[in-house]
Structures are given as structure tokens and as C-alpha cells.
């Protein structure tokens, strides 16, 4: 309770309330996440329920267009799926993939960073060299190649079933080096502190020291990076799905929906692409705006 009061009285919260952009972004993000998480409850239709789909319903324009249909507010896609419902479920998939991918990258990167920073020497040199080399390649390229390799290695049927996990793995593996670099840097600083030496003197195992003592102290910057990378991971997923190496049309994410809609751009069914596209852009834009504000709020020098 007291912590809450302190939070609402803080400069941090004050700068949030003074900044309409940050407030609007937080609102948009909350709507996107809320709509996605509660899609089964809120969505007017269930786009995965094949029985309810009818090709008769396909290509219905949005309700506000001349020959629109009030039962499908923003129209239907080529399969006759209600687009609003498909977008809500699609956002759910996108956020799920991005969040798990970042969680994976965070775990992997933090572990490697801790080990490299704490042990130092050859281990450190090798691990960081790998991170450096990987960092020279854009994450999307790494994710693309990892996905392609897994496609070749895994049996076809197994790959199709595991598609979403393959995607999460590919995006996560492409984003670990940033976490590792940051954690290593902080670990190097923490390692020299008295409390770590004290822990070493009383004979705690390196593992205990790393997880119990250093980790909590290096987590701050990690969480900031995780937030900023979440927006990027959403884009990674959308891009991969758009390129056709991500999720299949049977389990559409935002990227998949845009890819489907792209096929009908020239025949006039613009809404199939535009609405998922706008959702994606609004979500990533609000994450970026919040990130921007957060960085300025945490760095008073820039004010």
C-alpha cells in the first residue's frame, strides 16, 4: 500500500501523467493486450471453429462500406472468417510467440552473460566472441536461417506440428546476444563488489553466488532491454510469417493475416491487409513510444 502511494507520488508517475503520448500509448497497448488475452471471451466469432466458417461469407467488406454487413464490423477474409475475431486471435498468437521468444532469449542470454562475466578468462572470450559475431548479423536473418535449417532437419510432419515452437526458438536464438552482453557488463561490475567477495570468503558455490547474489542486482537493465525487444520480436514474428516461413494460415498470427490479405490487394479487398496491418503498427508503435518515454523518464539528463 505504502509502495503504491509512493509510486503515485513519484517523479516517474508524474512525468507519465504529464505526457499525453505516453498515456495514449499505454492505453492502446492495454487495449491490444486485453483484446488478445481475452479473445475467446470478447471476439464475436471463433475463427478456429471450422464448422462455423462458410465460403459464402468470404470477402464481406467492412460494415461502414456501401455493401457492408453489420454482422462483420470490419469484414471477412477469403475463408469467410470474421476479420475482427481473426485479428484478436491473431494478436494473441503474435504476443504469445513474441513473449515466449523474449523469455527464451532472456534466459539464455542472462545465463551466458552471468557465466561469462563471473568466470572470465577463456570461457568469457569464446562466449562473447560468438555473441559479437552473431550481433553483426541482423536478428531477422538469423531467425530466418535457423528456421530454414530446422525445416530441413526435422521431419516434415513433426515440423508442421511444432511450427509455433520452431518460430519461438528461431526468434529467441536470434536475440540472446544483447542480453548476454548487458548482463556480462553488469556482472563484471558486481563481481568486484564487497558483497560478492564476502560470499566467496564464506565459501558459497559459484552457482549460488551467481544466481542468489549477482543475478538480482543485474536484472534491472535486463528488463528494460526485454521490454524494448518485445516490440522487435512482434515484428520478427510478423515478418517471418509474412515471408511464409512462420505460422501457417490455419493458425494465423497478424503477419499471416497480412500475408493472406496481400494476395487480394489488387482485386480490391484492401481491408484484409489493412486492418491487421494497422493493428500491428499501432501495437508496435505504442511499445516504441512507451519505450522512448521510459528512457527519457529514467534519464533525467535529457529533460
Amino acid at each position: 500500500m505504502q509502495a503504491l502511494v509512493r509510486f503515485f507520488d513519484s517523479d516517474f508517475f508524474y512525468s507519465f501523467r504529464r505526457n499525453p503520448v505516453a498515456m495514449v500509448s499505454a492505453f492502446v497497448l492495454a487495449v491490444c493486450i486485453g483484446g488478445a488475452v481475452m479473445a475467446p471471451l470478447l471476439a464475436p466469432y471463433n475463427p478456429f471453429d471450422l464448422a462455423s466458417l462458410s465460403l459464402m461469407d468470404s470477402f464481406r467488406p467492412p460494415a461502414f462500406v456501401a455493401d457492408g454487413d453489420a454482422s462483420h464490423v470490419i469484414g471477412t477474409d477469403d475463408q469467410g472468417r470474421d476479420l475482427l475475431s481473426a485479428i484478436m486471435y491473431g494478436t494473441r498468437v503474435s504476443i504469445f510467440v513474441a513473449a515466449l521468444a523474449i523469455a527464451f532469449a532472456l534466459t539464455l542470454g542472462t545465463t551466458i552473460g552471468l557465466v561469462a562475466g563471473y568466470l572470465g578468462g577463456a570461457v568469457d572470450a569464446v562466449l562473447m566472441r560468438i555473441a559479437d559475431v552473431q550481433l553483426t548479423f541482423p536478428a531477422i536473418l538469423i531467425a530466418l536461417l535457423v528456421d530454414g535449417i530446422l525445416r530441413a532437419v526435422l521431419p516434415r510432419e513433426f515440423h508442421d506440428r511444432m511450427e509455433i515452437w520452431v518460430l519461438i526458438f528461431a526468434i529467441g536464438i536470434a536475440r540472446w546476444p544483447q542480453f548476454a552482453r548487458t548482463v556480462r557488463g553488469s556482472t563484471l561490475v558486481e563481481r568486484g563488489r564487497e558483497y560478492v567477495m564476502a560470499a566467496q570468503v564464506i565459501g558459497l558455490s559459484p552457482r549460488r553466488i551467481m544466481t542468489g547474489h549477482i543475478l538480482p542486482n543485474v536484472l534491472g537493465p535486463v528488463l528494460v532491454i526485454a521490454t524494448l525487444n518485445l516490440g522487435l520480436a512482434v515484428l520478427d514474428e510478423a515478418t517471418l510469417s509474412f515471408l511464409g516461413v512462420g505460422l501457417a494460415p490455419t493458425e494465423p498470427s497478424l503477419g499471416t493475416l497480412i500475408r493472406i490479405g496481400n494476395n487480394f490487394l489488387f482485386s480490391g479487398e484492401w481491408w484484409i491487409t489493412i486492418f491487421p496491418g494497422v493493428t500491428l503498427a499501432a501495437m508496435v508503435l505504442s511499445i516504441n513510444l512507451l519505450g522512448d518515454w521510459l528512457r527519457d523518464a529514467l534519464n533525467p539528463r535529457l529533460r
Binding site: F137, P138, I149
Partner: protein, 328 residues
């Protein structure tokens, strides 16, 4: 200077060899090339012969050094999908990608840097705020969506520009260029804008951030205290110091352009290396993937080398071997 280049080259070699090893591992152990090449019916004897001719019975390092040796001679094996030498497949498509990427890079730099400088100097001006909001939109819109929107507006609705392909090409030596015909140039506009947009906004934001950082520095305050003109402070002192970190990131970003051209090429059906890669990934055509990885690495290393040289030209602190050397 010369020693500097040599040193940088030597640092690049292990990286390239490591990438080559990954590339080779993919080539040799992923997706079973033997089965792929033999097709449906084969005898064990045929299989053995092929294994021998391909040298797959040799130890890893022998195979690996053969692979590197062949790669140095431009031989990368056959594409599973098209049954053609991968080297020439990729080479055919390289001009398309390089033209697209360099025009996009030029666009990103020539618009991004001035906008960054402007927004850095007039940080509270109306136009700066507009630029900043636009840039955030640019960073948040995924490349493929920008492409789709541009196609929708300029190709579908207005019908001004083509939405796919390279237009009429002209052969100059072995290089097929679209830069010399009107239709080629028109076809280039949308893809180049799409590809350059993200980097442009990124460069602008980076230049602005660096500019603000530099303007707060002590030497800029001291330059003001010395009574130098606004112009000398902004463009003589601040801009040059801004460029030092910007060069590195921009260099990496230009590498990013090559990767993101995959997306742009898919949207615009641009017949470059990226489109080839996507088509190959869809059917797990490993030789094309591994060769692409190798070639892209070579390009990245080259770009990094150029960046280092630029760095060297801009920042005197790197020109060691004169005077005291030590900083404090």
C-alpha cells in the same frame, strides 16, 4: 594506415572461417545431399559411389578444407531445387540486390543525416516534433507493411509506379542493370523507398541522439565560451563528433539493408538474392542457404572494413604511433 588494414583483415579471417564452418556443417550434415541427389530409386552401390565422389567419407577437416577451397573458387555445389550450380544462381541475382540495397542506402543517408542534424539542433521546433513522430511511425511499421501500403497507394490506387519486377534491364559486361532505363528506374522507386525507410528513420534518430549528447559535452560549452560562431560550433565541432559513433552504426545498418532486402524483394517480387533465399528456405534447399550465408558474411566483413577505415579517417585518437599515445 597499411598496417591497420592488414590487421583488420587478419581479424576478419577467423570470423569468415567460423561462418564457413557453420555454412559447411549445414551443407554436409543437414538434409542429406546424397538422398536428395539420387532421387527415388538407387542401389547401395550407387549410394557408395556418390558418397565417394562427393568425398563424404573423408574426415571433417578434409571435407571442410575442400569446401573452403572450392568456395574460394566460386564452387558451392548444386541447388537441390533447381539442380543448377549455386554459385551462378546467386551471382545472376546479385546485381538486382546490390542495386536495390545501394540506392536504398543512399536514400537513407542523404535524407536521414540532415533530418537528424536538424532535429538535434532545433529540438523543440514544430518541424522537429513532426519529424520525430514520423520517424517513430517509420521505426514501428514493419518493412513489408510499408511496401504493401506503398503498393496500395502508388500502384493500385494511383497507378503511377509498377508494383513488381525490375522493368527493362540493360547488360553492362556481366552486370544486368535497371539504372539505365526509365522503366528500370521507375521499378526501383517503391522497393528502394520501402527498404530505405527503416534505416532512414533509424539514422535520423541516431544522429539526433548523438547530436544532443555532443551538444551537452564540455568541449562544445568551451567552444561557446571561446565565442565561436553558431555555425562553426554546430557544423564544425558538433557534427564531426557526432559522425564518429554514427559511422559504426550506419555501417552495421547497411549490412542490415542486405538482410532486409529479403523482405522487400518478396513484397515486390524483385528477382534478387533475397527472393532466391526465401524460395530456397521454403523447400529446405540447403546449398543455396549455406552459400547465401557465406556470401552475406563476406559482404558484412567488407562493409565493416570500410567502416573501420572511415573511422580511422575521422578520429585521430585511432592513429596510434605518434606522440604520447596514452590518454591520461
Amino acid at each position: 594506415m597499411f598496417a591497420f588494414i592488414i590487421a583488420r583483415l587478419f581479424q576478419a579471417v577467423p570470423v569468415l572461417l567460423a561462418v564457413a564452418a557453420i555454412s559447411f556443417a549445414m551443407f554436409a550434415y543437414v538434409g542429406d545431399p546424397v538422398t536428395q541427389m539420387l532421387g527415388q530409386d538407387f542401389t547401395e552401390a550407387q549410394r557408395q559411389t556418390l558418397v565417394k565422389t562427393l568425398g563424404l567419407d573423408q574426415p571433417f577437416w578434409v571435407q571442410y578444407s575442400r569446401f573452403v577451397w572450392a568456395a574460394l573458387h566460386g564452387e558451392f555445389g548444386l541447388s537441390f531445387r533447381l539442380a543448377k550450380p549455386v554459385g551462378s544462381l546467386i551471382l545472376e541475382r546479385m546485381p538486382a540486390t546490390l542495386e536495390l540495397a545501394s540506392v536504398a542506402a543512399l536514400l537513407a543517408l542523404s535524407v536521414g543525416v540532415p533530418m537528424g542534424v536538424y532535429t538535434g539542433l532545433r529540438r523543440n521546433g514544430l518541424l522537429s516534433r513532426v519529424f520525430m513522430v514520423l520517424s517513430l511511425v517509420g521505426v514501428s511499421l514493419p518493412t513489408f507493411l510499408i511496401g504493401i501500403l506503398l503498393i496500395l497507394v502508388f500502384a493500385v490506387l494511383l497507378g503511377w509506379l509498377p508494383s513488381f519486377g525490375r522493368g527493362t534491364l540493360v547488360q553492362v559486361g556481366g552486370w544486368s542493370t535497371g539504372l539505365l532505363t526509365l522503366s528500370g528506374l521507375k521499378a526501383l522507386i517503391l522497393p528502394a523507398v520501402t527498404l530505405g525507410m527503416f534505416q532512414m528513420t533509424l539514422i535520423m534518430r541516431l544522429v539526433r541522439a548523438e547530436m544532443l549528447e555532443v551538444l551537452r559535452s564540455d568541449y562544445i560549452k568551451f567552444a561557446r565560451a571561446r565565442g565561436l560562431s553558431q555555425r562553426a560550433i554546430h557544423f564544425g565541432h558538433a557534427l564531426r563528433n557526432t559522425l564518429v559513433p554514427v559511422i559504426t552504426v550506419v555501417g552495421l545498418q547497411l549490412g542490415g539493408l542486405l538482410a532486409f532486402s529479403i523482405v522487400t524483394e518478396t513484397v515486390f517480387q524483385w528477382p534478387g538474392m533475397g527472393l532466391l533465399l526465401i524460395q530456397s528456405i521454403a523447400v529446405a534447399d540447403i546449398p543455396v542457404m549455406s552459400t547465401y550465408l557465406l556470401l552475406i558474411s563476406v559482404m558484412f566483413v567488407t562493409i565493416n572494413l570500410i567502416v573501420d577505415l572511415l573511422y580511422y579517417a575521422v578520429d585521430p585518437r585511432l592513429r596510434i604511433g605518434r606522440g604520447g599515445g596514452g590518454r591520461h
